[in-house]
């Protein structure tokens, strides 16, 4: 198709009709929920997270009402415990993190000029998991069964079933389920940023939002899995009595604190960076110039991401760790100020150098920076160990974290809401209501949280449900409560503004006169994402590339058509965004919902100790997921297709060029991190006990080494299978895959035989418990390896994997590399470390 052909309006209309048909959304009253298009799923996601935020906000108001006057008896201690636990957990797990994922699902494809993210069904799965898990966790408060151990759930309070009830299980299992959906979102976003950029969008032209999202998604891969590992140990202790955190049986409650805060601190940046990313988009728009210091922003994002993993112990300054350890973390906590400060200065410099249009979104952005800076400065204070000892567990910390989160997450999101509302709905929100709400929020936030610095320094501890009059805290608390209500009124004004939106008229396209790709979206919603995938030459193509919008609209760029009636997008190379392939995207389907329900069933049924039902749900989940997988990596009807301008791209790619390969790689990276968390547990116990591993407790080296040998043999068989398959020897490949599966299954028996023969009873001591946990983790992975190998065999027999279309075999091999890594560390540790130590 030459440039010339697009001059014909009839052709363009025919193309548009075909695109519209391919991207037709399901409209039945039930089937509409099977939609997978990012513009629907993303919006559901945003609305759900927003609703959960309002719910958690109401919990906070009840708390503030209780604390308004001394010796109040509106709610009792037990209810109050549930309120603050659920408020913190919901704001973190059900609002801040999911909101970033939700906003990214809406924006990212638009920003990258892609029709959709590479795995639309995965986004849908993530959304449904989030909804089910969120309702499950939040609903518990209506049954007086909400978690009540604080949002970081410190054992032994929370692991002892006589001290905390079902709530602790609901927290652990419900939120673990949501963590799984966060990892799913991370996979989607990383692959989206790296592989689905438009042609020409080299790394140095990427919108800064995409840089931030890439960085944050990678952080999720390393931050969430340690918590998942912690959750596993925690539930093993609660449900089976395996003593990981019980000091009487050799456990250590500090292990939980380590695993929790290895997650918990990066988490702060995981929710802060995406919000700041919104600034990086709206500040250039309202300065009407390019953002200053692009590499400095990248430095800030990447630098903060790394440093944030060296901060976790600053939540544990009061636990009695050696001062030298504390000092390392204090140093890193001070260092993280540098990149954070740099990005704020880059924003201020851009505003100073541009022609500022002082719009409502910009008002929110600048206001939130002011609040954030106050929170940042008290953060530097509590990063100093001796000061922290004074302020620890007082309202000073409550004040600090709320300044950070309101200034660093909530207000920037409101800025983003006012900025991007026209993108999603085609309508602007009211400037008058928006500004009113802003000043209410600004006054409310400061009135609520500034007095808390003082009440904290005067000694008011966190998490008390009331306080005596003699402490002299009544005035400060009353001010905080008044502020909280003022803040709530501000939020209410925003909600009213949103509710009035349907009555307002549509505005013109790109109403803020922005320069980045997402503003190509039309006020009249088209589901195809973008009319044609543009060639990018600058950072602000709408401003700087001549006739850019017209060329996109007239289909003069790439992939202007859907000749085969399929949903498609372009895959490009990582560094330079050279076109690599056209991939077919997932269409609306029940499978993601069914997968979310069945996987959710495993977690929810386990909470109520219905183990057989949970097992049944797990088997169903496996079936649904395999059915879903079966639809992927399909062999196209023709090898290549033209995408315009004389370019012809393959419709099938395998190995590192394919999004699927990257998805496996990224998922397994997260899996390996969770495993490292468990292994950290083993060596942590070694450092804290002089007799760990206990002398001659076993297991003897024989069985673990045998398990390792069998796993290695299975790995070897799979690699040989990949190689002979590529050379066309299909029969031999099938034999090798079957052999590999048999070896994987044999390694399960060998792996379990070690601790079994040593008669290790996991309920009696920590050593036995952690040995069994590592062994079970590894054999479960061997079982998945066997399933994967048999799946590859089935795909080959069904003709869905062939020597020229071998994505499945390559992905299975990739899994095997991680399998071998896990097996080497587990079996060598279990078999040989007792001898070495």
């Amino acid at each position: 198709m030459s440039l010339h052909a697009q001059d014909d309006p009839a052709l363009r209309e025919a193309q548009e009709a075909r695109l519209r048909a391919a991207w037709q959304r399901p409209t039945g009253w039930l089937t509409r929920w099977t939609d997978t298009n990012n513009n629907r799923v993303g919006v559901w996601y945003v609305l759900t997270a927003f609703a959960f935020m309002l719910f958690a906000g109401v919990l906070a108001l009840i708390m503030r009402t209780q604390l308004a006057v001394p010796d109040n008896d509106l709610v009792g201690a037990s209810t109050f415990n549930q309120l603050f636990t659920l408020h913190g957990s919901a704001m973190m797990f059900l609002f801040a993190v999911p909101m970033f994922e939700a906003v990214s699902i809406v924006l990212l494809p638009q920003l990258l000029g892609a029709r959709d993210l590479p795995f639309p069904r995965l986004s849908a799965f993530g959304y449904w998991s989030f909804l089910i898990g969120g309702v499950f966790v939040l609903g518990s408060i209506f049954f007086d069964a909400a978690p009540d151990g604080g949002w970081f759930m410190y054992p032994p309070l929370t692991t002892r079933t006589d001290l905390s009830g079902l709530g602790a299980d609901i927290w652990m299992l419900g939120l673990s389920f949501i963590e799984v959906s966060s990892v799913a979102a991370a996979v989607e976003l990383i692959v989206g940023v790296l592989k689905c950029r438009p042609p020409g969008m080299r790394l140095n032209l990427m919108p800064l939002y995409a840089w931030y999202i890439l960085v944050v998604a990678v952080m999720i891969l390393f931050a969430f899995p340690p918590l998942i590992a912690g959750d596993i140990l925690f539930e093993m202790e609660r449900l089976l009595g395996w003593p990981f955190f019980d000091a009487a049986k050799g456990g250590d409650p500090l292990l939980w604190q380590h695993l929790f805060w290895i997650f918990g601190h990066p988490e702060v940046y995981i929710i802060f960076l995406p919000s700041i990313a919104l600034f990086a988009m709206l500040i250039p728009t309202f300065s009407q110039r390019h953002l200053l210091g692009y590499p400095y922003i990248v430095l800030a994002a990447v630098g903060t991401a790394f440093l944030s993993f060296g901060l976790w112990v600053h939540h544990m300054f009061a636990t009695g760790l050696p001062k030298i350890s504390l000092a390392f973390f204090s140093a890193a906590s001070q260092a993280v100020v540098i990149p954070t400060g740099i990005q704020i200065f880059a924003f201020i410099a851009t505003l100073a150098a541009g022609r500022v249009i002082f719009s409502t979104p910009l008002l929110y952005a600048t206001g939130s920076l002011a609040i954030f800076v106050i929170g940042g400065l008290t953060g530097v204070m509590v990063a100093v160990v001796p000061f922290d000892w004074q302020a620890h567990d007082t309202y000073f910390v409550v004040a600090h974290l709320h300044y950070v989160l309101i200034g660093g997450t909530l207000m920037p999101l409101f800025a983003g809401l006012y900025y991007y509302w026209p993108l999603v709905t085609g309508k602007k929100l009211s400037d008058r209501l928006g500004r009113t709400a802003f000043w209410l929020l600004m006054a409310g936030a400061n009135l609520t949280f500034f007095p808390m610095h003082l009440s904290g320094l005067m000694g008011m501890p966190r998490r008390v449900f009331t306080y005596p009059e003699e402490l002299g805290l009544a005035g400060l608390n009353l001010a905080s409560t008044a502020g909280a209500y003022l803040f709530a009124v501000g939020v209410l004004v925003i909600v009213i503004d949103l509710a009035l939106s349907p009555t307002r008229a549509k505005v013109k396209r790109n109403p803020w006169n922005a320069g980045t790709l997402e503003w190509l979206a039309l006020p009249e919603d088209e589901d195809w994402g973008i009319r044609s995938v543009p060639l990018i030459e600058t950072r602000y193509p709408i401003w700087d590339q001549p006739n850019f919008v017209r060329k996109v609209d007239e289909g003069r760029f790439f992939l202007p058509d859907a000749e085969e009636g399929r949903r498609e997008t372009i895959v490009t190379s990582v560094l330079d965004a050279r076109p690599v392939a056209v991939i077919r995207l997932g269409t609306p389907s029940w499978l993601p919902i069914l997968a979310a329900i069945t996987v959710g069933g495993v977690f929810i049924l386990t909470t109520y100790h219905l183990y057989w039902a949970a097992l049944g749900s797990g088997i169903l989940a496996l079936g649904v997921i395999l059915r879903w997988l079966w639809t992927t990596a399909e062999i196209p009807e023709k090898p290549c297709k033209p995408i315009g301008h004389g370019l012809e791209l393959p419709l099938y790619v395998a190995g590192p060029a394919a999004p699927g390969w990257w998805a496996v790689f990224i998922t397994m990276l997260a899996d390996a991190t969770a495993f490292s968390g468990l292994l950290f547990g083993y060596y942590f116990f070694w450092t804290v006990h002089s007799d760990f591993p206990p002398p001659s407790a076993g297991p003897a080296p024989t069985w673990p080494i045998a398990a390792l040998a069998l796993t290695a043999a299975s790995w070897g068989a799979t690699i040989i299978a990949r190689e002979v398959h590529r050379r066309g020897r299909v029969g031999l490949t099938r034999v090798l895959l079957a052999l590999g599966a048999a070896l994987s299954l044999a390694s399960i028996a060998a792996g379990l035989a070690g601790p079994w023969q040593a008669q290790l009873d996991p309920a009696t001591n920590t050593y036995a418990a952690i040995v069994w946990t590592l062994a079970i983790w590894t054999v479960v992975h061997s079982a998945v390896a066997a399933i994967a190998q048999l799946y590859g065999l089935a795909r080959s027999l069904a003709g869905r994997t062939t020597p020229s279309h071998d994505a499945d075999v390559r992905n299975i091999t990739l899994y095997q590399h991680f399998m071998l890594f896990t097996a080497v560390l587990t079996w060598l540790t279990l078999g040989l470390f007792p001898e070495v130590a």
Binding site: N204, Y294, A331, A332
Partner: protein
């Protein structure tokens, strides 16, 4: 000789992996410092009397970071397109990645020094 070295360095590939090399070195040094101190305190009950291992690692980390920084500095000055060097060309992409690497090397350098300072002052396991 120097010119030839500079030419050679300018042709090296800059990727996302080279971008994160300096902070990775910081992370490795940080982890090692933490393990070194806490394992010694926990297992020996005493601070290392001769912390040569720690200082050796610190110097090594700083040298590697400076090395990354120097390479990045040279690459960030590859002659090519006009300022402000933000075009969709290979040279500008290289210059951008190199300059970001240089900045990260600076941050990582400061980070390693921050981590090392406590060892100058603290000498026991309390």
């Amino acid at each position: 000789m120097i010119t030839r070295l500079v030419d050679r360095i300018q042709t090296l590939r800059a990727t996302l992996w080279t971008l994160i090399a300096p902070p990775l070195v910081w992370a490795a040094h940080f982890l090692l410092s933490y393990l070194w101190a806490s394992v010694l305190c926990a297992k020996r009950g005493a601070f290392a009397t001769e912390p040569a291992l720690f200082w050796g690692c610190t110097v090594l980390a700083l040298v590697v970071i400076v090395g990354c920084g120097v390479i990045a500095h040279i690459q960030s000055r590859v002659p090519g397109d006009n300022p402000p060097h933000e075009q969709g060309t290979k040279v500008d992409r290289l210059r951008f990645l190199a300059y970001s690497t240089l900045l990260l090397a600076g941050l990582s350098f400061i980070g390693v020094i921050f981590t090392a300072v406590p060892v100058l002052f603290l000498t026991d396991c309390r």
